[in-house]
Symmetry: D2
Subunit: 369 residues, 4 copies
């Protein structure tokens, strides 16, 4: 019952002159519900979010949407098209090595300046004016006489759309991975609205990603008012959803993640409350500091031994490393052990590693929600 408007936006210009654009699907809200921005595939190999946007569109067109919803699949045309051998080398700019998801903008001086200037503004006005401020700041950046780099151009175009929204969902995947969620600490209660078994709670720091770029200005605005002795709400919800493994597409599996997103949107009154509700499941969480990378202690061929989501005790094996140059010696086959009690969340995509390759990422000091 919602109409879907189709448009596109140029986000990059290639050496041969070709403009690269992203498709944009928009639903006009029927009421004054929260505005939503959802994008997918910022990293070129992480395609499953596109299938989730497909299923969301299939559902949303049959629903009454109270707030405006903007959906941007295929958000990174350079990354998606960057092949190297049979896989997609879409995680970083091939020229510079810069992670595409680190090109967003945050001006750390704005929150304190704003709070100092408008100590007594009421919340609704704060939201309207501060949003205008960060949008102007982003626009000003685009007119820098020295220009912006390619990732910054791309990100600025996407961030411009995200800044209009109250809810920002960035759909990613891991390399070979379970579903997991990056959730800002202030939004803890809403982590259980998604059908995602693993959640990291992240702090208010800015490291360049879209979720941070969306919530940092508002979170730090809250902190700035707090420092002035006033409590205001963080006006924006922003999450990164990691929907399993890269280089993999499944429309059927995407229905589950679609349901998961709709449960959250239903709770947030973007669509009718109660229409979708989260599944019953054990949800594990840890703080970002406790989300640890385990680097390969030696090089070789790797057999990954532990299914995702399984609780592993310290000292239990996570992987086996085969060194066929060492057959006949004790180190031809060796195990890599968990350095702490943990839950493996993702592992490296290849069966061969250098010393120091990120072998696993694991939850430690985890707890249930």
């Amino acid at each position: 019952m919602s109409q879907i408007l189709t448009s596109s936006q140029v986000v990059a210009h290639m050496a041969n002159g070709q403009e690269m654009s992203v498709p944009i699907y928009q639903i006009k809200g029927s009421a004054n519900g929260p505005k939503v921005y959802i994008q997918a595939n910022m990293h070129g190999a992480e395609v499953q979010g596109n299938a989730v946007i497909y299923q969301l569109l299939e559902q949303l067109k049959q629903l009454d949407c109270y707030g405006d919803i903007t959906l941007v699949p295929l958000a990174n045309p350079i990354g998606t098209n960057q092949k190297s051998g049979e896989f997609t080398l879409g995680r970083f700019d091939p020229i510079t090595g810069t992670n595409w998801n680190r090109g967003y903008h945050f001006n750390p001086s704005l929150p304190a300046e704003f709070a100092a200037q408008y100590p007594d503004l009421e919340q609704g006005e704060i939201v309207a004016r501060f949003r205008q401020l960060i949008i102007s700041d982003l626009d000003a950046r685009l007119s820098n006489p020295y220009g912006l780099n390619t990732a910054q151009h791309l990100c600025a175009n996407l961030q411009r759309m995200a800044f209009e929204a109250d809810i920002v969902l960035d759909l990613h995947t891991g390399p070979i991975s379970s579903r997991h969620l990056y959730c800002p600490e202030y939004a803890k209660e809403r982590a259980v609205l998604f059908d995602i078994p693993h959640t990291m709670f992240i702090p208010s720091d800015f490291d360049g990603a879209l979720d941070e770029a969306a919530f940092c200005p508002w979170w730090q605005l809250q902190l700035a008012y707090q420092a002035q002795g006033r409590e205001i709400d963080v006006a924006i919800d922003a999450f990164t959803l990691e929907l399993g493994s890269q280089e993999w597409l499944c429309l059927e599996e995407a229905k589950k993640d679609c349901h998961s997103v709709l449960s959250y949107l239903s709770h947030q009154k973007v669509i009718e409350p109660g229409l979708f509700s989260p599944s019953k499941m054990t949800r594990y969480a840890c703080y970002l500091n406790d989300y640890r990378a385990l680097y390969a202690p030696k090089s070789g061929l790797v057999e990954y031994l532990v299914p995702f989501g399984e609780e592993v005790k310290a000292g239990q094996p996570l992987a086996r490393i085969l060194r066929m140059d060492r057959y006949g010696h004790d180190d031809a086959v060796e195990l890599v052990y968990a350095p702490a009690d943990c839950i493996p969340i993702l592992h490296f995509a290849s069966a061969s590693v250098n010393q120091g390759t990120e072998l696993y990422k694991v939850f430690t000091n985890y707890f249930t929600l």
Copy 2:
């Protein structure tokens, strides 16, 4: 009961001066059985053959080997170490694009010259002298004053070892793939000795691969004598075994392929006949001309729909292509259909394709063995 001798061979020299070598494991035959050469991992991402060599060594050391056996895992140190993003870009020389498995040598003039020179030599002498000839020819190539390219250097070092053998097995994998076998037509009867459900019968042409480099001189020698009115046997057996998918290692699964190789070696009297025998299974085969690549008719995100080894009728769907720039149009989700009755053997490793990317390789006009 067999002793394993360990050595290594330098096969490449890198820009920084580093010599790159391959490990060599050798068993001295207890009797006058056929000599065997087995290598793995010529393409950098195809690691599972190393696990099979591991399991073979574990078995062979407990057996009585009648003939000399040479096993070379990690056969391509440049390819194995060539990473690009999270995957191994080991299929071709990153400088030239040359497929590493196309650098072997075949001198097409030798068979006819030899047959003309020695029309009446008895088979044993033919084998001894012709082997000497092709080895000398290979050695001569290495002293070319203009040098050889990097792939040719690497291949010449490996081929030198393979030329000493009566049986050559080159262990590969597909991208995402079922087990399949490249079998020269003259060795048809022996395809069933492997526990491999899909076999291609290949002709006597030379296209640069190790199996061809091993059997072409001998097969074309047979044809040369045939042209002179004399029948001799092809002295060499050479196969390429494709052991499933790349970027994947499993020591347990490798035991199956180890058993498969041992069944063949047992039949060929390299080890005790009857000690291992092939599993009962339906084995499909087709001729190389009927092993067809299906190229993506359009670009987009791909969901591969058919399990390997399943017989598919012409007109049935093989893949679904999602085009999220086309949502709302008929071509947003389209199926790719089998152009003929076929069995899918392998498919592309990534979930996104350009137009013209090799989507599937399939058996057509196949039959059972």
Copy 3:
């Protein structure tokens, strides 16, 4: 005085759905002069040909063109946009390693079939009908139910335009390189019309490049008629011009190559004869078999010692290889010597090489034109 018509042609479809196209500039001939097809930048890093097309357009628009002229710069949008670090990795399909300039089509059975079918057709009719035949054959290929690969798609679209022409010029560059020309042996006399000091005479074999794809059908048609005892002309002229080094653009230098092309076109009566004429210079040539690659005999850091175009005697040094892992030993600094009297034409683009990297390409057994 000639009008330039602008259009474009889609030649590739990328994973994100983006269509990639080439720009096409066309001049309608004022008379019945030969038709010309000129393209540039088939290899992504070889950009200087675009500047030459720019200068040609600047000149041609002021001239009277007797025949239709089609100019296609930026002929390979995938290759041009394929970056890897600070350079353009545009020589081969990054997925397969296939050289982009090997995807053109030649059906070797057509010439003999045609000559057999039309033994007595007059030359004008031969040209018209045979051109129609090879165009139909190319079109039929595009409807192959198994599809074509990405390079073949791209090449077929370009070849379709080239097949309409009587003169085909493919503008390339070497890595670090002097100007040189690939000239079919039958067109020897016309090599001197270009201001290019080095010419290779190439035989009638087909190896996948555009110049070959353009002249092979016609040359082999000549040979087929010859085998039937009749002499006909080769109807098509096709050359590959190598315009210096890759990753380098200079509009001023492009004027020289523009003049060079105009001299040829003037001689061929595409524009007014005598309007442009070749410069006086010593022109060296050799046969393709004598155009030799010299591979690095050892790995290390390379100082290239010989200016292009200089005659080098056998035994004179071409390069110095520094091995800083060997300081203090005799092989820390070693020279690489010319294995024969030669003229260096191009050398590798990087100052570090593996053993077997193509160090130089040189003319041997050369002569002056």
Copy 4:
């Protein structure tokens, strides 16, 4: 007259098991002069520093060296060997995109802790004990149970050697570049000792590079004592020397940079004072904040117009961008202008750029030394 000791150090382990090592050349000082650490080629394509080390060794072996000197050419065996097409993709880890020269370690809490603990220690003792502390801290890092990533492993091995020295020189090059110097602000007076026309003065921040990793602990120690009201010297000198362009080797040109380094070492009494002295030349400098990247405002083919080192006025052209898809329009050929008075120091290595590619880096607000 100095003896050169040769050794090597393993710094990386590759997927195939191969250990990769760096060569180490050491001279034992004849007196108690400053200890020196010089490395080259941390970025794979930046090879000229190896030639400078070659020339330094040739000189130093004839001189009396008062302090120990350690020279490490080919410092990054992974980067040096990472080819992608005809160039060396050695700037970042191909798996992660991490700049190799950002993996060094600095523990920001050590200086303040040390100064608090030893407020009154005399300078000689401070140097000895603080050096011991940062070395222990680095060693502790290597025993992290979660391991280190590949860049950190490599860097830790090099940094371990650098931490023993009083003078650290890291030899790099730009892409296509003039000679320039990164000089910490506290060492301003010594910038003129090198024959390098362009110097950036850098602040005490740590961004992961070797020069910073060498001087930051000591500089911040100075600041920590300063905060306690005491002045101590910065014990360490550390510079990054950019020696021209990458992918280029010239032993003759390296003699100039060798002389430049010897002038500095002579002044610092590593070798006999006055033995070498800096050349007379105009030396320009700016602060790091004024060293600006100019990003391509549009994509296309680039002709770089300004020779390095030339003073350019705001509004003068720096580059020309050719857009052959736009021939006939005003934007087919456009100039890129200097946004401020500046001196171009380096430009991008390729003649084609995306929008946002770093086109030039320039000095602004520069002054002469």
